[in-house]
């Protein structure tokens, strides 16, 4: 419980019921509070992409911020009285703390901006200056219904903003495995695939499309012709790349992927100019086939064939 991220909710307006706002955010009429000094309301955020358990902590003033809250706070919601000109000044007491915390979600809430007190212009400027978003609970003008992308207001917007945050304890729903890299999962061609390729394509390939590109074993790469479609070492590299992008896709694999690419790049950098081009061509071709691309598409693209 102690380590749950916390949403700090506070009011700088006397008479405002924080509990009511909390209840609206959580979407239940009654929320049991864990009262140990500061009132805490557990809330489970559950959306299309992730679940996260957070605590909404109602903190009456800066002096009530406990060490635990300071450590776990990840979002800040403050209500202020827009009817008096000095409404925003009370919020300022929080600014030094917020500078320390550097939070992603900071929301300035009021009932509705008022010409007599704090008007839209002032509130907006304050928000921009301090990185807040202004949310009116009962705005004057409702969003245009014809708008295809209507702005949400009030509690809906607060909930939305709290959802659009990556909480420290977030549990992703589907293993997206780093987005597009999961698409490369299909790279895991069984070994026989490349065997087939070698078998079928070798006669054509040995015509000189794919020469040994790694200089160590031959002084002049043009002299030595290899009948494998992909350099074995390179093939190994590509295979490793493929396995790194597949399935589990944990963070180590992900960083390994970059190290691997870097290694391959470094290796290429040591080769003479001509060989480097060949190397690049092979990597590109192998990668193309690894992601399931069509062999026909790259047929005849070789720089070798033209020369």
């Amino acid at each position: 419980m102690a380590s749950l991220p916390c949403v700090l909710l506070t009011s700088c307006a006397p008479g405002f019921s924080e509990e009511e706002l909390v209840a609206q955010i959580i979407g239940k009429d009654e929320c049991p509070a864990n009262t140990q000094g500061v009132k805490q309301y557990p809330w489970r955020i559950d959306n299309k992409y992730y679940c996260a358990d957070v605590n909404i902590c109602v903190v009456p003033s800066t002096t009530c911020v406990t060490a635990q809250i300071a450590e776990t706070v990840q979002a800040f919601i403050v209500y202020f009285d827009s009817k008096t000109k000095l409404g925003l000044e009370k919020v300022s007491a929080w600014l030094p703390l917020l500078e320390d915390w550097v939070l992603d979600v900071m929301i300035l809430v009021c009932d509705r901006v008022s010409e007599a007190g704090v008007n839209r212009q002032t509130a907006q400027e304050w928000c921009i200056k301090h990185g807040f978003e202004l949310v009116e609970l009962n705005p004057d003008e409702l969003p245009d219904e014809d708008d295809d992308f209507p702005e949400s207001t009030g509690v809906t917007r607060i909930v939305q903003a709290l959802n659009a945050n990556v909480w420290s304890n977030v549990e992703m729903k589907c293993e997206q495995a780093f987005g597009i890299f999961s698409s490369l999962a299909a790279v895991n061609h069984p070994p026989e695939t490349s065997g087939e390729l070698q078998g079928d394509q070798a006669p054509a390939a040995s015509e000189g499309t794919l020469e040994q590109c790694r200089g160590e074993d031959s002084g002049n790469p043009r002299d030595s012709q290899v009948d494998t479609i992909v350099d074995p070492m390179l093939d190994l590299d590509i295979r490793e790349l493929a396995s790194l992008t597949s399935g589990e896709g944990d963070i180590e694999n992900f960083s390994r992927l970059f190290t691997k690419l870097q290694e391959m790049k470094d290796k290429a950098a040591t080769l003479p100019h001509e060989q480097r081009k060949l190397h690049a061509e092979k990597v590109a071709k192998a990668f193309w086939m690894a992601i399931g691309g069509d062999q026909d598409e790259i047929e005849g693209l070789s720089s070798e064939e033209e020369s």
């Binding site: 907006q124 903003a161 959802n163 990556v166 780093f178 999961s182």
Partner: protein
């Protein structure tokens, strides 16, 4: 020429940035916060085109997100204005009702879409089906 393409939320956080001209990371951060402040401080009935330093900004607001595009004088503001909408419509089509969350958790895909539409700072494709075709192929490969 289009110089950069940004998606920012109402709290001023950058959700996506793409530069078509080399710019140091530090300068980008400064530019982004500057540009965001400019756009956020404008009211809805103000013009969507702003003169900024030696270039122009074209921006549009979609719910809680702003899309801001920096262009030079050779670019047509109205065309860019429509391009932004086209981009959002493509996102909307792909994600079926796009939200900030979709962009946050599918940033790679959003970049792929953007890269289909813009190359080297020029619009290269506007047809939604053609823009989405490569991404759908990748999705298919991923599913199978």
């Amino acid at each position: 020429m289009i110089k950069f393409f940004l998606i920012v939320n109402k709290q001023g956080q950058t959700r996506l940035s793409r530069y078509y001209e080399r710019m140091e990371v530090q300068r980008r951060t400064l530019l982004e916060s500057d540009v965001i402040k400019l756009c956020l401080s404008r009211s809805k009935d103000q013009c969507s085109f702003i003169e900024y330093k030696d270039f122009k900004l074209v921006y549009r607001q979609y719910a809680s997100l702003f899309i801001v595009v920096g262009i030079d004088e050779s670019e047509n503001e109205m065309a860019v204005f429509e391009l932004i909408h086209n981009f959002v419509e493509v996102l909307d089509k792909y994600f079926s009702r796009v939200s900030e969350l979709d962009i946050m958790f599918n940033l790679d895909k959003v970049h792929i879409i953007l890269d289909e539409m813009l190359l080297n700072g020029s619009a290269v494709e506007t047809n939604k089906t053609r823009i989405l075709a490569p991404l759908l192929v990748l999705d298919k490969v991923g599913d199978s």
